[in-house]
């Protein structure tokens, strides 16, 4: 049986016409390599969980009997300040003494003794190859430990190990040799953030996600009742939550009292004052009809929503991210909706240049509180699989331009040419082919010009397979598909230049939204990226 990861790669290869072909490796050989690697990777995940939980008796299961194993690295000394918010410590790896699994287990006990708390441990196979006639697997392993040092500062250790694995009698791949390299950790010198959803009254619990039923949920911030406090609208499986900020550090979910109906397929809320009356109205993007709710704060004096959808053209079958600006410069905010498609029911017609998404929508505000889809006239009824977008006037002509993050293909940069948009992504250097999920404008060099951040998937398994297929020089397209987020610096008059490498790497896993914010107010905009696709009951990854 072909494993799902290998299968994904094969689908990709079969689908992409532009790749060098044939793939330089026999699919069955690729599958053998990945089957062994996944087996080992999952054994290492079990090891990780046991290490995290202090289940020392389970640690031996990752190893073959008689395995030669180093101890885990132990803190050795301070390296000083790595960042204003974190110091660096060095952890010594390797073993002077030759050891077995017992030595490893003993050092695991040392970790638990020496750390104030252990929150997470991960061992991941970054690259691997079958050797000795396929009987052994040589693996390059990255590991991390997240917890708190005894003085309660958050600490994050990262390091590398070399492993040699072989199959046991059951055909499961286990470690026979493990060499731990020295590593270093970051140790925070302040408690940067605290999670307070429950005490603040915004906690929400959903059942585990089902592939065929699930919906992605979004949120919007704005002062709905104009009392000086920022409220939150967040979509959910029923009625959208309206978390009204009480000003005392808590929020009250008033969605039901404000006239909102159930919209179980709603995705993104968007707050905008579409009638310029001074209060924030609510647009809901959805996998199904979009919804318009007019805020009655003005003129009625109390926050309440009235559904005005029937007055507008709302035939959109699918909507993900929704963004707003005054596209046609008539003084009224318009709305653009990224439409993507029903993934799982429909598949992209090309894994690297898909064009069978549902057309994106441009709801032009008629000025009387009603909207009409003018995406076709404006040339933005794009059928790429668009998840998100962002507006900004990049060429400073007083007309908002539009960047789109598209999954399974090329992103778009639409310049506003008056009554029509024109895609200049290629000329401006921001095609950013890959799994585009999100986009945001900010400033990465404080030169007074807006730069661009795009989120894309990065994948350990993907990188591993690509390396298996093409070695160290994969086709740029394939490499990009698993590489992660991108950062582009705007050069006025010359499009954008790619600053991803200068960033130091923004491989954030299966990345979604986020963008620029300056968490420590030091005058430089930091980046935040929510990540992760679907976590099942087991950490075992396909």
């Amino acid at each position: 049986m072909i494993g799902p990861v290998a299968l994904s790669a094969l689908c990709l290869l079969a689908a992409v016409d532009t790749l060098p072909s044939p793939a330089p490796i026999d699919p069955r050989e690729l599958d053998r390599q990945e089957q062994a690697t996944e087996s080992l990777a999952n054994a290492l995940l079990d090891l990780s969980v046991a290490l995290r939980d202090g289940e020392f008796g389970l640690l031996g299961r990752a190893f073959l009997p008689g395995a030669s194993v180093d101890r885990l690295p132990l803190p050795e000394g301070e390296l000083g300040e790595a960042d204003p918010w974190a110091d660096r410590r060095i952890w010594a790896g390797g073993s002077e003494e030759a050891g077995g699994v017992e030595l490893f287990i003993r050092s695991a006990r040392d970790w638990h003794r020496d750390m104030g708390a252990i929150d997470d441990v991960r061992f991941k196979v970054k690259s691997s190859s079958l050797i000795e006639g396929g009987t052994k697997l040589k693996a390059r392993i990255h590991y991390s430990l997240i917890g708190r040092s005894p003085d309660s500062r958050r600490e994050w250790l990262r390091g590398w190990a070399d492993g040699l694995a072989a199959a046991n009698a059951e055909g499961d791949w286990r470690i026979d040799e493990l060499r731990m390299e020295s590593a270093s950790s970051l140790r925070a010198n302040a408690e940067l953030f605290s999670e307070i959803g429950a005490p603040a009254g915004v906690a929400d619990d959903l059942p585990p996600f089902r592939w065929t039923e699930g919906v992605e949920h979004g949120a919007a911030a704005g002062d709905l009742d104009r009392n000086g406090w920022i409220d939150i609208v967040a979509t959910g499986p029923g009625r959208p939550h309206v978390y009204l900020n009480q000003g005392d550090g808590t929020f009250a979910d008033k969605g039901a009292l404000l006239g909102l109906q159930d919209h179980p397929r709603a995705t993104a809320p968007l707050l905008l004052d579409w009638d310029n009356d001074g209060d924030l109205d609510l647009f809901l993007s959805a996998l199904g009809p979009v919804q318009f709710y007019e805020n009655r704060l003005v003129p009625e004096g109390a926050l309440a929503f009235r559904n005005t959808s029937d007055r507008s053209d709302t035939a959109a079958p699918i909507g993900y991210s929704a963004i707003s600006t005054d596209v046609d410069r008539d003084g009224y905010a318009d709305i653009y909706v990224a439409s993507y498609n029903r993934y799982a029911r429909v598949f992209p017609d090309d894994w690297a240049r898909a064009e069978n998404g549902t057309p994106n929508l441009l709801f032009v505000n008629r000025g009387d509180g009603t909207f009409a889809d003018r995406s076709r006239e404006w040339g933005v009824d794009d059928r790429r699989w668009t998840y998100a977008g962002a507006f900004a006037d990049l060429n400073e002509d007083g007309a908002p331009d539009l960047y789109l993050a598209n999954d399974f293909g090329e992103n778009a940069l639409f310049l506003n040419r008056g009554k029509r948009y024109e895609d200049v992504a290629a000329d401006w250097g921001v095609i950013d082919r890959g799994s585009g999920m999100g986009a945001a404008f900010g400033d990465i060099d404080n030169d007074g010009v807006l730069d661009l951040h795009v989120t894309n998937m990065s994948s350990t398994a993907g990188k591993r397979i690509i390396a298996r297929l093409y070695g160290s020089a994969p086709p740029p397209l394939l490499e990009k598909l698993a590489a992660g987020n991108s950062l582009y610096r705007r050069v006025p008059g010359a499009g954008f230049e790619n600053w991803t490498k200068r960033s130091g790497g923004l491989a954030a896993g299966w990345a979604w939204g986020g963008g620029f914010f300056d968490f420590d107010n030091d005058g430089w905009q930091d980046l935040y990226t929510p990540a992760g696709f679907v976590s099942g009951a087991s950490m075992h990854d396909t």
Binding site: A190, F391, F441, Q525, S535
Partner: protein, 357 residues
Amino acid sequence: MLAAQAGVEKAGRSALLNEQEELMGLGFSFSGYERNRLYRHRGRDSSPLYIDLSGVSGVDDIGDGRGVLFADFDNDGDSDLFVTNLQRRTHLLYRNNVGQSAHWIRIDLEGRRRGRDAFGAAVRVSSSAGTQTRVLAGGSGFLSQHDPRLLFGLGVDEEARVEITWPSGSVASVGVLKADRTWRIVEDEPGAELLDLPAGTLPDPVADRLLAIKVGDRLPGGRFRGVAGGSTDLSELLPAGSRHIVNLWASWCRICPREMRYLATLARGQGRNAIVGISIDDPNDLDKVRWRLHEAGADYPAVVASEEYIARLFGSVAVRVPITLLVAADGTIAEIHSGWRPSKAARLERFLQASDR
């Protein structure tokens, strides 16, 4: 594409999905349990430009993150985060504990010509860090729309020059505005209006489980090692009959010096021992402690807590600093504050000025 290839591909796709659903049913993950990431910008000439602080940030949830709101929910001058997840705990709220320790400026825009929201306006704020630019976005990222009031960090700067490019393309130079305030700027109207936002604070789980002692308790007594040498008793340090501010800090604490600099200023013109620093550090390694005090200009009495004293203060609770205790004339603790923000200054001054009945 060849027909055979297309056939393989189609079969592959449906097999892929079936297999994914089946594996999910069995509990497997698909790029699951990944951490949300925080990359800190290290400044103009740094290489690389960012450092990944995720694992020490506290905002690195592993619950399949999707969207995020950057918003100042307690109007204290820093960005808190609201994160949406795919499943299980779908809403997370993060309190920013450190941003308030630097200066900031907030710009609240109202448009006239291209809609009241002024979506698409670009705001430029010039300070010693250069000219930061932000766009007032009506939605960005993924399924997300941030706080419409644009917040800029200013580091140590106490003012900044502000310029707006309105969505119409017209540029308005607002001039130099003072930091730590919110300014409302209306298109086609001159200048900026100071906006008096209500101030508050989000729940602070650190403060709630801060100490083994609570408001109303007497501060435990004990003998301390003086930073300059010798040893002293708490009753000598904090003589009864007057009010005291006791600052718990540590040499490794990043925010502490900002509060200490303020406390040093406050201490001048106050009575003897109005302010006392207790450091949570290794009593055998005092060089760093002395150096930090020197850097902060803190010349008020400073001592180092013994291990036993730390245990009495914090019990089994993790040590967190800075914590500032306001001690009444009868020796009981009147207030406990964690973290530091400039807005706390007035509270401390009032405490020292008032007298106990």
